[in-house]
């Protein structure tokens, strides 16, 4: 929630009328300040680079792990605490890795927005 929320002071009837008519307003092209445009372009490029890196890691992990398990049928015989290693690998590798990846990406994406 933003600290300074601006509230339009109108009568309930006016508010209702606005609400009813809002979807009929004509679409207007978006406008931006020149300063905002420069900054948006900078943020866009920074975010794009970070997104490509994060997405590459995600796809590498998720599409690579089945290949690894396919190439190493021996993992079915190796047992940790009695459980086949290949079964553990489907659960214990992807989920922690995705949690770490999402927090890493969250911090990087927020930092990219903060540098103004």
């Amino acid at each position: 929630m933003s600290p300074h929320r601006r509230v339009a002071v109108t009568s309930p009837q006016t508010r209702l009328a606005h609400a009813r008519r809002r979807h009929r307003t004509a679409w207007r092209p978006p406008t931006m300040d020149p300063a905002e445009v420069r900054q948006a372009l900078r943020v866009y490029r920074a975010q794009r680079a970070r997104a490509v890196a994060a997405l590459g890691t995600l796809f590498g992990l998720l599409l690579g792990l089945p290949v690894l398990l396919w190439l190493t049928p021996g993992w079915d015989e190796v047992r940790v605490l009695g459980i086949p290693l290949s079964w553990i690998a489907i659960v214990a590798i992807p989920f922690p890795a995705m949690v770490v990846l999402s927090h890493w990406q969250l911090r990087r994406a927020e930092r990219a927005e903060d540098t103004e």
């Binding site: 931006m32 079915d76 949690v99 999402s102 927005e113």
Partner: protein, 587 residues
Amino acid sequence: MIAVFAVAPVVLLTLLVGLRGVAAIRTTSDFLVASRRVSPLLNSAAVSGEYLSAASFLGVAGLVVKDGMGALWYPVGFTAGYVAMLVLVAAPMRRSGAVTVPDFAEARLASTPLRKLAAVTVLVIAGLYLVPQFRTAGLVLSVVSDGPYWVGVVIAAVVVSVTLAVGGMRAATYVQAFQFCFKLVLFIVPAIWLLLQVGPQVRHEAVHPVEFTHFTRETPVDFGLEVTLLLDEPLTARTGDGAPLDIPAGEYRVAEGSTVVFPAGAPVPGIRGGAAPGGPDWQRPLLDPSHAGHPLLGTWAVLIATMLGTMGLPHVLMRFHTSPDGRAARRTAAITVGLLSVFYLFPGIYGTLAKVLVPQLYLSGATDTAVVALPSQVDAGPTGTVFTALLTAGAFAAFLATSLGLLLVVAGAISHDLVPGGLARLRFTVVAAAAVVVLLALPSARLDAGVLVTWGFTVAASTFCPLLVLGIWWPRLTAAGAIAGVAAGLAATAGAIVATLLGPPVSGWPAILIAQPAPWSVPLAFATMVVVSLFGRPPAWSQAAMLRLHLRERHDLGAGRGADPGHSSFSARRSSAARRILRRLGR
């Protein structure tokens, strides 16, 4: 009795929590996106609560019994979708200021036809997803209470539509967040109890699976649907009321609704298109459901469909619009990944235990009921009944939370995008849509819920995923390109569905690609959008429309804008001024 104890508290709690969320609702935006004031933690609990449908609560464990350990890739794909959402979609989409996905399409590309097409796509996805939810609610209730199927369907529809029509998205948010905690407890506690209760012998068998070739004890199997059994040798079994039943060798058709009691030591009959659980293929951690001999391709196809499909699910996307700003939406996605990861540690436990205790479910195709069937196998006394009731309650909560979100996007698509109307019409649409879904769900008790939901994911992956990704990251996207891409994705998945239902049987890798078309239909939709857009010319404002999505919202309006005299005619804010700058910087 179990049904009353399990379902009545869930229904009452849903209505109570829903009513707690009822607040003054005056505008469409209040109704559809809860006035955009939902904090990241609450929103991520609501997203997870909405997302953990029957497919997760019951379906994954059932798929483990049916298809093997590789079915654990489904939850990985379900969770990975939120990582992709965090990286690509969450924050920019929220900044568009849209309320629904069709709204976003119009805000970015200013095309009314695209908005209508997107609204129709929402209806297709929600229909594919919503009918199985209602159907499974009816089935689970009829199994535990011996009541008729339609009662469960109608109970689900009434609870969901009343909560929504009265409280809108705000009520749905509280209900879904509450039901996430509810489901998490009701999934984890019975899992731990089962593990402790089954004894070392079953635990050993669970991790050292042997192929299910002979019945170890006298086993009654209820055939809810007609099934063709394949027998190598004749077999004398009994019917449900004790009469002897001679089954000849070869193919034997079991009638719908009959019970067959197989004697101990008898060989397990085969079924068409399925392999007995526990075999060497079952133990491999890769997914090959159609036994096409390409486990790697099968696993990849499922991962791509679930991951990209999650990114395009309209009811999940709508939840992100309830965040106050783009950052909150992104944080919501990150927390959701953590919450789902905790939940998805447990379906494997249910699946491996069900393989040992109720492997015969694969004969009747009722593997979806494996989770609910487990407690009574472990403890025939009152404790087992209590845990059956707890799991039934969790499953029912799963239907309710998912149906809430889906019904809301259906209402939004109809009376916000297709035929824009006021608040009263939205409330009415919710009830009317619920009635239509009940009518659709009543004759579809025989449909396979997992297949319908997978199609829903595939349609979402090949329509909204490319629309959102290109709309947010590619300034040259045109409205014509977007329309062509969405239409191509819809046509490709519809073609694959028709081919699955009516087409000739195929084998090998084409079978995987027809049953699971995401690996080719998603690239096709992306390619169509790019190629058609490159032939056209994006309008002058399109780059600004895209860049705006990546700029942080200004909460301190007025500050840091010294040059702006404050009236709207300030020349530097015209789109031509922005374009001049972009031309200079964009090179």
